[in-house]
């Protein structure tokens, strides 16, 4: 039998070759019980960014006022000229004007960029972009697009593709849902038409199912190239069907995409470094340790590449789910009976109920009779046998 300490030593050495993932415990801890202080820190940083942004904007305003008005003696004209430039540059210009209420001031790096992105987010999905929309910070950096449960309010106004950030192709994941109601017997036909729309838009049907029961319905999920997504939504809306609800959204995943690319590049460089180390390793321990690290890095690269492919797919093809239901058939009005007619129907019902009751009781009654007859026969035979024995 192998010695226990040899097993412990060997297993310990084998286990040591597996590095503990550096952030695993913290990640797990956050999953089990999210830490609030981090959120506060992020909030605090965000506030600091706002303060910096505001201060930078104020400095810019003063500089502009000096430039336009010719110095501190420029008088009230300097303020008004700054104010006039607000409307012209508030939307999509990458300035901080919409956020801080100060117009025409080129934003500093970072602060201005985020403000510009917020403006873009506010515009997307709405035909009328306003300063109020532009002033929404935070989530609008990532999430924008049209979203409504009232199909009519967006009729003919599909969500606009948000402007791409300068210097990068925007990656936008578009999804949408439509609920349609069609006339009786038209569910299958409508689903066929929707399927044809996907084909025309160079897309495909990802999933489809129909319910052929008494109340037919169906749903179909289309994957359509992002460039033709709005056209496909529009075409579906043009079908002979009532739009009960519509919801479309677009999520900008450009930053995630770029981040993934950067992380993959960094990991590939790390792997190359480890491979060079492996070539120089002279001991078994070194070789095993470096190989283990290469395997780890390779696994991470493959995971990130998988995520990148998913983002690529999602941002190349929008997902549109259409649910088709049939109009409900109105229930027939309750037939009003006269007093005599109602009495007659009641009488017939009660007669039938009486017959049913009699038929229902016949079975048990018959069983009781059979048991009594059996007992009588057994008793009689027994009595005769007993009498013979006595005689």
């Amino acid at each position: 039998m192998i010695a226990e300490d040899l097993l412990e030593r060997g297993l310990g050495a084998a286990a040591e070759s597996y590095e503990i993932p550096p952030a695993a415990v913290d990640d797990l801890r956050d999953q089990l019980a999210p830490r609030r202080p981090q959120a506060r820190r992020r909030l605090a940083m965000s506030r600091r960014a706002w303060v910096l942004s505001t201060a930078a904007a104020a400095v810019g305003v003063i500089a502009l006022a000096v430039a336009v008005g010719g110095g501190p003696n420029g008088g009230p004209d300097s303020g008004s000229s700054a104010g006039k430039s607000a409307g012209g540059t508030a939307i999509g210009s990458g300035t901080a004007s919409g956020v801080n209420g100060v117009a025409g001031v080129p934003a500093p790096a970072g602060a201005g960029g985020s403000a510009g992105a917020a403006v873009t987010g506010g515009v997307a999905g709405h035909d009328s972009a306003t300063g109020a929309a532009a002033a929404v910070p935070g989530p609008s950096l990532q999430q924008y697009g049209a979203s409504t449960t009232d199909g009519q309010s967006l009729a003919g106004k599909p969500a606009r593709t948000p402007a791409a950030p300068a210097g990068a192709g925007a990656k936008v994941v578009k999804t949408g849902e439509l609920d349609l109601q069609v006339d009786k017997g038209q569910v299958a036909h409508t689903l066929d038409q929707i399927s044809a729309i996907a084909t025309v838009a160079s897309g495909f049907v990802a999933e489809s199912h129909t319910n052929e029961g008494g109340d037919p319905s169906g749903s179909i999920t289309l994957r359509v190239p992002v460039a033709r997504f709005e056209a496909a939504v529009h075409d579906v809306r043009q079908l002979h069907a009532k739009v009960l609800s519509q919801q479309t959204s677009g999520v900008d995943v450009t930053s995630s995409y770029v981040d993934l690319q950067a992380r993959i590049r960094a990991l590939v460089a790390t792997r190359s470094a480890f491979e060079r180390l492996l070539a120089r390793a002279t001991t078994i321990g070194d070789t095993l340790a470096v190989q283990s690290r290469i395997t780890d890095v390779q696994t991470q690269i493959e995971q990130l590449q998988g995520q990148l492919r998913v983002l690529d797919d999602q941002s190349s093809y929008g997902t549109l789910t259409v649910t088709v239901d049939q109009k409900l058939t109105p229930a027939p009005p309750a037939h009003h009976r006269s007093g005599m007619s109602a009495a007659l129907h009641r009488s017939v019902d009660r007669f039938v109920n009486g017959i049913e009751a009699i038929v229902g009781i016949l079975g048990p009654l018959l069983l009781v009779l059979l048991l009594v007859a059996l007992a009588f026969v057994v008793g009689r035979v027994g009595y005769r046998l007993l009498r013979r024995q006595l005689v």
């Binding site: 039998m1 192998i2 010695a3 226990e4 040899l6 097993l7 412990e8 030593r9 060997g10 297993l11 310990g12 050495a13 084998a14 286990a15 040591e16 070759s17 597996y18 590095e19 503990i20 993932p21 695993a24 415990v25 797990l28 801890r29 999953q31 089990l32 019980a33 001991t283 078994i284 321990g285 070194d286 070789t287 095993l288 340790a289 190989q291 395997t295 780890d296 696994t299 991470q300 995971q303």
Partner: protein, 172 residues
């Protein structure tokens, strides 16, 4: 540092490496251990106090690993004799690499053990679980654990990858 932090920092490394020894793939091991911690933490109120949480944690870790092993036979291909091949390629194993070499040999020998023997060996001799906790983890009686450990040690002693080590140990 609260209870959760303490538990995680104490238990995670060994649980993770236990899963690595069973699965061979760090990413899969991380997933399995993460799943185990999430489940045990979610049902922590129903787990008996004291060492009960550790036994339950390993029970879930083992189940998660086995379900992955049974669903993914790549493990067999991946494990193989890679470690031994590396060892054979080395002409002159040095003293400071002795433990690493033993680990590689033991890993190769463990791969040849059937699953019902391999799991108790890892839990006993790496994770350091007592037999009663291993019984909870693999859902068998303590007597079964004892007999499986004996059988595993007998088989490992006969394994060609470990023959030299056993001889060396006896000589020492």
């Amino acid at each position: 540092m609260d209870e959760l932090d303490t538990w995680l920092r104490e238990a995670y490394p060994r649980a993770y490496r236990t899963a690595c020894l069973l699965l061979k793939v760090p990413a899969d091991a991380e997933d399995a251990v993460q799943e185990a911690f999430l489940r045990v933490w979610r049902f922590r109120d129903a787990i008996p106090p004291g060492d009960g949480r550790q036994a339950w944690l390993y029970r879930v870790v083992v189940n998660a690993c086995l379900s992955r092993l049974r669903g993914d036979r790549r493990w067999r291909e991946r494990a193989g004799d890679e470690a031994l091949a590396d060892l054979a390629a080395s002409a002159d194993p040095q003293r400071d690499a002795e433990d690493a070499a033993l680990g590689a040999c033991l890993t190769a020998a463990l791969d040849r053990l059937p699953e019902h023997l391999r799991v108790p060996v890892v839990l006993r001799y790496y994770s350091g679980l007592p037999e009663k906790d291993i019984a909870v983890a693999i859902q068998r009686r303590p007597g079964t654990v004892k007999s499986r450990l004996s059988e595993a040690r007998r088989r490992l002693a006969d394994d060609p990858a470990l023959a030299d080590w056993v001889t060396l140990e006896v000589a020492r």
